[in-house]
């Protein structure tokens, strides 16, 4: 049996080093993709404007004295139906109480990614 050839160990060592460097680099590039996704995409994914829109619409309707309570129920049904049909989000608006000075409304929002619940007093 021949003796193990131990020449050119430096080349092998350098080879390892470069391989390790590339591995490290690939790892970092992979991470940068992830960063790009979380900053821009999470902004898109988070339904901030939708929730605000529902809230402001509910507030405006509650403040309109000319609309009776029964009609307001219909408007809540409008919002719920429009959101489930057009935006794939479950919205549930329910008047839970109130007095002469204020109205208590429960708003539930769920689009599969984000869930939002609020008890609002208008």
């Amino acid at each position: 049996m021949e003796k193990l050839n131990d020449e050119a160990q430096w080349i092998v060592l350098m080879g390892f080093m470069v391989a390790a460097a590339f591995f490290f680099l690939a790892l970092v590039i992979n991470q940068s993709t992830l960063v790009g996704q979380t900053t821009a995409e999470s902004v898109l994914e988070f339904p901030k404007e939708d929730i605000r829109d529902v809230k402001s619409e509910v507030a405006a309707v509650v403040a309109t004295a000319s609309i009776s309570d029964a009609e307001k129920e219909k408007l809540w049904k409008d919002i719920e139906a429009l959101y489930i049909a057009r935006k794939n989000a479950v919205v549930d608006i329910e008047k839970t109480g109130g007095s002469a000075t204020h109205t208590e409304v429960k708003i539930h929002f769920n689009n599969g990614v984000t869930t939002y619940d609020e008890t609002a007093y208008y």
């Binding site: 050119a8 900053t39 821009a40 995409e41 898109l44 829109d53 619409e57 408007l75 057009r86 935006k87």
Partner: protein, 169 residues
């Protein structure tokens, strides 16, 4: 004694390592990586300005007043809407933008189904645009009669959903 038999191999190793590193450095320097996140940035910007414009148009400018958006919808004033929406959407602090849009109205009809009807389009869509969709709920008063534009329209106080597709042309 010092064995100097493999000196050439060592030098060759250095040279090889240097060439590999230099090549990698050059390649990575000229290469720009288009991450999936980049494509979402334009979407994010469009969605933001679209939502902002709708919110601005839906905010009454004086207390107790009616918002512009309600006015355009209840009168089905597509020209007025187009003029105002295009102006706000493309307004910049210097110069103009070139955004196009396609607006439609969704509503709950008298048969309790959600229907969608076109409102105004500033450019015919080819369906290949990279468009984003923004929406705004609008309450229109009972006196509104849009049955000539919206099939199975029920005349009552109601909330409709204005949907706008926005893209850069």
């Amino acid at each position: 004694m010092v064995d100097d038999s493999a000196q050439l191999y060592t030098i060759e190793g250095f040279a090889a390592a240097f060439i590999i590193l230099a090549t990698a450095y050059l390649i990575s320097g000229t290469m720009s990586i288009y991450t999936p996140g980049d494509s979402h940035i334009t979407d994010m910007q469009l969605e933001q300005i679209g939502n902002d414009v709708l919110a601005v148009m839906d905010t009454p400018t004086t207390q107790g007043g009616e918002s512009e958006l309600v006015g355009y919808l209840k009168d089905w004033n597509t020209d007025g809407f187009n003029e105002r929406f295009s102006n706000l959407l493309n307004n910049r602090t210097s110069g103009k933008d070139t955004l196009k849009y396609d607006a439609s109205v969704s509503y709950r009809s008298d048969t309790d189904t959600v229907q969608n009807a076109p409102f105004f389009s500033s450019q015919t869509r080819t369906n290949y645009e990279q468009a984003v969709r923004v929406t705004r709920l609008v309450t229109i008063p009972e006196s509104t009669d849009l049955s000539s534009h919206l099939p199975e329209f029920e005349k009552r106080d109601q909330v409709v959903l204005l949907e706008v597709l926005i893209w850069r042309s």
